[in-house]
Symmetry: C2
Subunit: 322 residues, 2 copies
């Protein structure tokens, strides 16, 4: 880890959330239907904007009013410049976003089916090397409250998670897909929020609910599995497993819904809300995001989420209890 030189004054920066993870340039294109092999399809709408699980979660937190910093690496190409600019414009601190000048940045082409917002992601991981333990600027980031990880940069991630735990920070992991190199990270995670694909790969044959119980052995305070339109299930360490339904919206694009869900979840943690309130808030953030093309276009501010939740409550009151 980066340590201060002798005599250097150390001042913690006091970020609400430090994110260490992936950042990408998303090239999104809407298609009327999927093209047949060896054929051409005209995109009916396009958008180029930053993406990546941790990076987009930080954008969500920034729009909700939190002070955030991103730790990661881009290539020296113009895609890398666009990624950095996209975060800076949102107020995410990028002083620890390193550049590997000889490398290419991560990018994804995302084909969004305009009939129902489902999508295919074609992902180039980029050629920048992952951050190692020595690249994580621990000292500069002390006095921060939450560390958010997505399992990328495994060397730096384990070191950062261990340091964050020792520093009294809360550690959150976005488990998008299971890979064996994530295992050393799991004992350091306070809040584990994983995808359906993650539990299927790690706990084959188990239901999402069974998987939550298995995942609890790593010692998290809460484990959640997100299931898209089927909502999410959460198991607190002390308490009873519960379900949060997904909100019913007209879906344009599901890109980034998981990332924004994590942003909402972490916002709730920062407010010290009870877990059921956190899950409802996170689900609202993700639902609002799904109403526009792109992982970041429709990420809401706080007033928008509160209005959405108030509207949802009044609809429910009108309909009566389920």
């Amino acid at each position: 880890m980066i340590r201060p030189a002798a005599g250097e004054k150390i001042a913690g920066s006091g970020f609400s959330v430090i994110g260490l993870g992936q950042c990408s340039l998303d090239i999104l294109g809407c298609v009327p239907c999927y093209p047949a092999i060896d054929s051409k399809v005209d995109l009916t709408d396009t958008l180029i904007q930053g993406g990546g699980p941790v990076a987009t979660a930080l954008v969500a937190l920034a729009r909700l009013g939190e002070k955030t910093a991103f730790v990661g690496r881009v290539g020296g190409d113009d895609f890398g410049q666009r990624i950095r600019l996209g975060l800076q414009e949102e107020g995410v601190d990028c002083r620890y976003l390193l550049t590997d000048s000889g490398a290419t940045s991560q990018f994804s082409f995302i084909a969004v089916d305009q009939r129902h917002g489902s999508r295919n992601i074609f992902c180039h991981r980029g050629s920048a090397s992952p951050l190692g333990e020595e690249d994580f600027p621990a000292v500069s980031l002390r006095d921060s409250r939450i560390l958010h990880l997505d399992g990328s940069h495994p060397g730096a991630a384990v070191a950062a998670a261990r340091w964050a735990r020792q520093s009294g920070m809360v550690v959150v992991l976005d488990g998008g897909s299971w890979r064996p190199e994530l295992e050393p990270l799991l004992p350091y995670i306070d809040h584990l929020v994983v995808s359906e694909a993650f539990v299927k790969a790690l706990c084959p044959g188990s239901s999402p609910q069974q998987a939550l119980k298995l995942l609890m052995v790593y010692g998290a305070q809460a484990v959640t599995v997100t299931l898209g339109a089927k909502g999410s299930w959460t198991l607190p360490q002390t308490g009873i497993m519960f379900h949060q339904p997904a909100f019913d919206v007209t879906v344009v694009d599901t890109t980034g819904c998981g990332d924004v869900f994590h942003g909402g979840y972490i916002y709730g943690l920062l407010q010290c809300w009870p877990l059921d309130c956190i899950m409802r808030f996170a689900a609202a953030c993700a639902a609002i995001k799904a109403t526009a093309l792109g992982g970041r276009s429709a990420i809401p501010g706080l007033a928008r989420v509160n209005r959405f939740l108030a509207d949802a409550s009044s609809r429910q009151e009108l309909q009566g209890p389920a």
Copy 2:
């Protein structure tokens, strides 16, 4: 058309080939197989380079040693800058490549199946307006020998084709896909080279050979239909229809094969070769191109094509007549 001011000295530039048409940025990604709906696939290889039927044909001609100029329009974005730079680096004259600063450039994401080089193209047409008659710099381009079109910029294309015919130039059209607005262009075309999709749309129910006879009514000197791995059929105005087989190569990516075929065809016209020699040369150029990822990566120079053709001849001699 752009006309000179009174008293302005008019000097023809003497390009071998003027191309008026599409230019695009191709973002190519190899996939091990096609992703299922709502899933993610990692690209095993990627490449970003310029594309577009006429633009890539001019690159082929430039590599074969010809003096070329491109007339078209890009947007004011960084994709547009990359497109221009890609042509300039090949020695294609871009002084008549206009920029619409408020518009987006055309780009395509091309997913190449690494098992057999077949591909899907997801195309964003860009928001730059097509060139009109007034945008074609006819006077500056006199003393050129061939005008190559791809059916884009219909207003400028008809005016340019009419002017080229009057100026004694030869006009070539790359008919990639049939659209009714191409009809006014067809009477001005000397060499019409169309795709299988073009003849299927214009002459539904006809065989490629029947379609060639139907297309001949527009008065071209020769009409050709290209059929990918099945080679091409050519009908000269005076002469007998003949077939050119495709050369047998290990195909990596078929992107741009048609464009490079046109480049080879036009090179043969410039040398005043007989049509059967032209077709063999064009097929060789396209086959060599198919051996690498990207529409332009493997476009050959003259020595490479000649060596390829010599090797193909000696293989045929060894095998004896078919």
